[in-house]
């Protein structure tokens, strides 16, 4: 330590005025820090509102047990309490107090116009429950809870499905504020009176879609790599002037609407399209199915995502001086060996960045699979959209979205372990 630094009894370095140096430094930097924080505040606010909050909302929705805007146990408080006494495994119908509680809760729900929402909520779990709730609402509102009992027979009069043990098992299983049933559904499982079981193989759609989405995304990533690598290399090797021109050609798709590009592929690839016409003109008799299947999705998405592979590759290759390849050759390596041993390993950060980018974009892609995917080329996102907009099952849509988020994070983690995210270069 230099002789002119001041140190207090605890060994802390002191500033010239006797205050601890750390404190002194923090004070000097405070104004700077506040200014920096103010500058990024609008962005921070925007990201929080448009990104962090919706994701939080999605995570919550995937486990919240709600019907419309209310929690199920808030709508059926008495039923929830009474049904705990009943065991679906006993094989008997619930006892009278449960039906009485149902009459009470349904009457309140009908008053508040909530009974159909409740029905829809339970219908996600067991098809057919929507109608019995809808049917019962008005009738129950006319009953007097005190005098009109017993209610079991009255409910069975309205619809004998009120005696179905599976339905009551569903109500009991979903009587809490939080539920795992959306996640079970997202994994093609369901809760029965015997516990959790997989759905029938022909009803398992989500796991199939999930695997297809990931597999096709891998395939698309590989295709963009195989096509993009030579292009990026050419770009990096050309003199700046011609490289810039080529780069504009690479970027051109960015300036065209995604919808237009996808529609263009439809025109090119369809049965009576340009490519098939050319194929027939070559003398072949059978037209190829190039679209409305997985092949169409891979072709169109490879084209659309290609720039996301080329740009990171190009930016990495640009930083590799040509002298490395020259050095390798002067040391006796053939062109091939020089490429494999010296050039290629140095481009791995670019390959990593491009692959990660393309894969993550592909996994969540919606428009292209929707338009050119047909029956067997749709992605999980198309199903999420369906649950969200047509079926109205936001909980399931949220659960599927959460699973996709976890899968991507998991892949990112594995990638980090294998390659190291620090090695990724985007530009």
């Amino acid at each position: 330590m230099m002789a002119d630094t001041h140190v207090d009894e605890n060994g802390l370095v002191l500033a010239a005025d006797g205050t601890p140096l750390k404190q002194s430094l923090a004070r000097a930097l405070r104004a700077q820090k506040i200014r920096a924080l103010l500058l990024i505040a609008p962005l921070l606010l925007f990201v929080t509102i448009s990104f962090v909050l919706p994701i939080g909302e999605m995570l919550m929705r995937s486990v919240q047990n709600t019907a419309g805007t209310e929690y199920v146990p808030d709508l059926l408080p008495n039923v929830v309490e009474e049904v705990q006494e009943w065991d679906p495994a006993s094989g008997e119908m619930p006892p009278e107090p449960v039906y009485r509680a149902l009459a009470q809760d349904l009457a309140t729900a009908f008053e508040n116009r909530n009974h159909t929402q409740l029905g829809r909520r339970f219908n996600y779990e067991s098809a057919g429950m929507s109608s019995i709730f809808r049917k019962s609402g008005r009738r129950v509102s006319n009953w007097d809870i005190e005098t009109d009992g017993p209610f079991r027979e009255k409910f069975l009069d309205i619809d004998e499905d009120w005696g179905d043990i599976e339905y009551w098992a569903t109500i009991k299983a979903n009587s809490g504020y939080y539920t795992t049933s959306y996640f079970l559904a997202a994994f093609d499982a369901q809760r029965t009176s015997e516990g959790i079981a997989m759905k029938d193989p022909d009803q398992r759609i989500y796991s199939k879609l999930m695997i297809r989405t990931i597999w096709l995304s891998f395939l698309i990533t590989f295709c963009t790599f195989a096509l993009g690598y030579p292009v990026a290399w050419l770009l990096a090797d050309l003199p700046t002037k011609s490289a810039n021109l080529l780069l504009i050609l690479v970027l051109l798709p960015f300036w065209t609407s995604l919808l237009v590009r996808t529609s263009a592929w439809k025109i090119l690839l369809q049965q009576q399209g340009v490519i098939n016409d050319f194929w027939i003109a070559l003398g072949f008799t059978e037209r190829m199915s190039l679209i409305n299947n997985q092949l169409g999705v891979v072709i169109a998405m490879t084209h659309i995502l290609l720039p996301f592979m080329i740009l990171p590759l190009y930016s990495v290759m640009k930083t590799i001086p040509p002298s490395y390849l020259r050095a390798a050759k002067s040391l006796g390596a053939t062109n091939t060996v020089a490429f494999i041993r010296v050039y290629f390993p140095q481009t791995t950060p670019g390959i990593g960045a491009g692959s990660l980018l393309v894969f993550i974009l592909a996994v969540g892609y919606f428009i292209t699979p929707e338009l050119v995917g047909g029956a067997d080329g749709t992605f999980i996102s198309n199903r999420i959209y369906y649950q969200f907009s047509s079926s109205g099952n936001w909980g399931l849509a949220a659960a599927l979205g959460t699973i996709m988020l976890v899968v991507v994070l998991l892949l990112y983690y594995i990638y980090d372990k294998l390659v190291g995210v620090d090695n990724v270069k985007l530009g």
Binding site: S323, R326, A327, K329, S330, L331, G332, T334, V342, Q346
Partner: protein, 366 residues
Amino acid sequence: MSRENSNDAFVEFEHVQKSYDGVQLVVKDLNLAMPRGEFLTMLGPSGSGKTTCLMMLAGFETATHGEIKLDGKPINNIPPHKRGIGMVFQNYALFPHMTIAENLAFPLEVRKLGKSEREEKVKRALDMVQMGDFGGRRPAQLSGGQQQRVALARALVFEPELVLMDEPLGALDKQLREHMQFEITNLAHQLGITTVYVTHDQTEALTMSDRVAVFDDGRIQQLAAPDTLYEAPENSFVAQFIGENNTFEGTVKEINNGLAVVELDDGEVIDCTPVNVSKPGERTLISIRPERVEIDKGRLKEGSHTLKAEVLEFIYMGDIFRTRLRVAGRDDFIIKTRNAPDQVRLKPGQQIEIGWLPEDCRALDA
């Protein structure tokens, strides 16, 4: 310019021309012959064609015309990896994803040497440049000087007979550069390898080389040993490019007995050694080295030419004094004197008399 017998030349350029765009020649008619074991430096300003010549020799550029021979065999159509020429690059070009030992093993691996032989050669090469303990490190973990040594070791590890160096010391600081100059020349002579060294640093060229080829405008202006180059430049480009130089413009009056009488533009008449002036009436550029000017009348040799001068500036530089004078109408005349105990220290405004021998005063092309 080569006067060597081309039969024992190891590296040979014969009428080599190079053009990149088909419009301009970057290298115009290059002729050069190097005997085995020589350390030759290509020196010149940037754009003079020296690096292009090196790249043609390495095989990264093809000659537009003419022939390049290595050990008597034409190599124009041999790809770089088959030429077996070691090369040290300006930025070292050490492969960043390999350790130092892997970098050195690379040329041995592509030559399919066995593992134990490889390891032994790598170790020997690293020891040769005092980098034996660094085999496991990556290039980014080494300092510039250390990377330079490794690059040198890598170029030598496969025992090439010819090594090319493209401004290898350009990125080092002065002290390290001087040390490496010494090490490189030592190694080259010790191993008996033939070296072609490209630089734009004239001190480097003079201190390291057996011979220096001064490049300008796509031609070799002079190919000679360092002392000849410095003391007997053949034209005004070489005189001005190498070392410091005082010049006067003038006209040749007469030439006889190996002496040229030149009338300077301000009327002063002096005797010079004619270099590339041939007849009276020609314009000429007179060149005198600053350290060949004598200011002490008592030490002036017989036959010296003397002139009056006025001291304008005295600069103390430690080992030498640098004095700026007004001489024969020019006020940028520099003299250098050694900082010896009895040396006079001139003061601005002082009127003195300076002199030099006609041998040190060379009449060159204008």
